[in-house]
Symmetry: C2
Subunit: 219 residues, 2 copies
DNA sequence: GCAATATTGTGCAATATTTCGCTTTTCAAC
DNA sequence: GTTGAAAAGCGAAATATTGCACAATATTGC
């Protein structure tokens, strides 16, 4: 949306910076240098300076960055200044774990509705979140104006349910199924494929020497 | 070790290819083209061909790739021809979900031991996996010669426990905590940071127009 | 066996990302 | 003030990755 268009690689690191900055603020630290930040988040200090510089000159030469200034700035950029509601589609093992995962505290994100086929939990409240039957999904998502969902359904059902999500006007899907779902271009999918990540880790261990850097995040 | 050194980006896609290939094999398909694969895994066909070509000429021009040949080949490359044991450190909400996550079926990976501080579950068997008290961790990991762990402990404890893991001779850590843990260079860390990923998704939705491609995996 | 077709493998250009190294600015101490 | 040290900002080089476009080659149908 109009800013100077940030590289994707940078965008992925912003939440990481943000979290560490809030940690610093909570422990009373008021200034930080790219070098200190680098040690904490394991990103090269030049990369951090470059990342920040996309947003303008946020620091002071010879001094560093003011922690509270950065937080104030990134809070807005990252939408942390307002609560984001998301839905959980599929309340199985992983779904339950995510219900209890504290997205809210660190990130101002709330799972405000769940959906599941299982009649034993549809209609109940799990970890404070109302679970609706799958049949009501499109209607509820529209009504509650939810634009982002976490998809943790069986792989077989993933594409069909995704199609419904699209009908319901969803804009973003965090996809925990191993299926690479098909969506229209205006819908964004973030794949989190646990088995693949573990597999990748094993591959790196077997085939790359030590000291190889990155390998990082899902991604 | 020693092969022609594959780009990291390629290595991360291998498990994805492998999974879809096994799916094809199970449904009786014997040949596949890079174009078909491309549609299923949402990776450009030229990228797929390039990825495969790092391993030699695996396909036949004018024909495509033989599914079973590819599977046989990648099975070895990806260590899927033998069972890999991993440990789960921290058996809370997410840990429990991972115990039930079927790594084994698709990936020949087994969680063969769990560790937790909580005396209520230490000493029990959860989802078929024995859970040991944290105090026995180093000893057990050594004894069972486990080299890879999944770390799902509270953030506060993450670095201390990581230090113990290193002492126990661990080589790879799949880190679900938001802390970027410090490890010696011979230990590889794969970060899976759920809140950050969700945050990134939200950022992309707010700041990038539609149709932007990637954004992908944890990564 | 030949022509038409399909599809790989890859040189190369385009794009994306990281990192070096230096200039500039700011701060702190005297 | 003046000076020295610290550290951002940034041009430009280095590195990594992707994707185009096409020649090479296999397959299929006649």
């Amino acid at each position: 949306m109009a800013e100077t268009i940030i590289p994707k690689a940078t965008a992925k690191r912003l939440p990481l910076y943000y979290r560490y900055l809030t940690f610093l603020a909570n422990s009373g630290t008021t200034k930080v240098s790219s070098t200190e930040l680098s040690e904490a988040v394991k990103v090269d200090s030049a990369t951090i300076r470059r990342d920040f510089s996309y947003f303008g000159a946020l620091g002071k030469r010879g001094y560093g960055y003011d922690v509270n200034d950065l937080i104030k700035f990134f809070k807005k950029i990252l939408n942390q200044d307002r609560l984001t509601n998301v839905a959980l589609v599929g309340v199985g093992n992983l779904g339950h774990a995510l219900l209890n995962y504290n997205f809210r505290q660190a990130n101002n994100i709330r799972i405000s509705a769940g959906f599941d086929l299982n009649p034993e939990i549809a209609g109940t409240i799990q970890s404070g979140v109302p679970i609706y039957p799958m049949a009501d999904m499109v209607e509820q998502l529209r009504e509650q104006q939810i634009e982002i969902v976490i998809l943790t359904v069986p792989t077989d059902a993933a594409q069909d349910i995704t199609d419904d999500l699209v009908k319901a006007g969803i804009k973003g899907i965090m996809n925990f199924t191993p299926l690479r779902i098909s969506v229209p271009s205006y819908v964004r999918v973030q794949n989190v494929d646990l088995a693949t990540e573990l597999q990748t880790l094993i591959y790196f261990l077997e085939h790359y020497g030590p000291t190889l850097k990155d390998a990082d995040d899902a991604e």
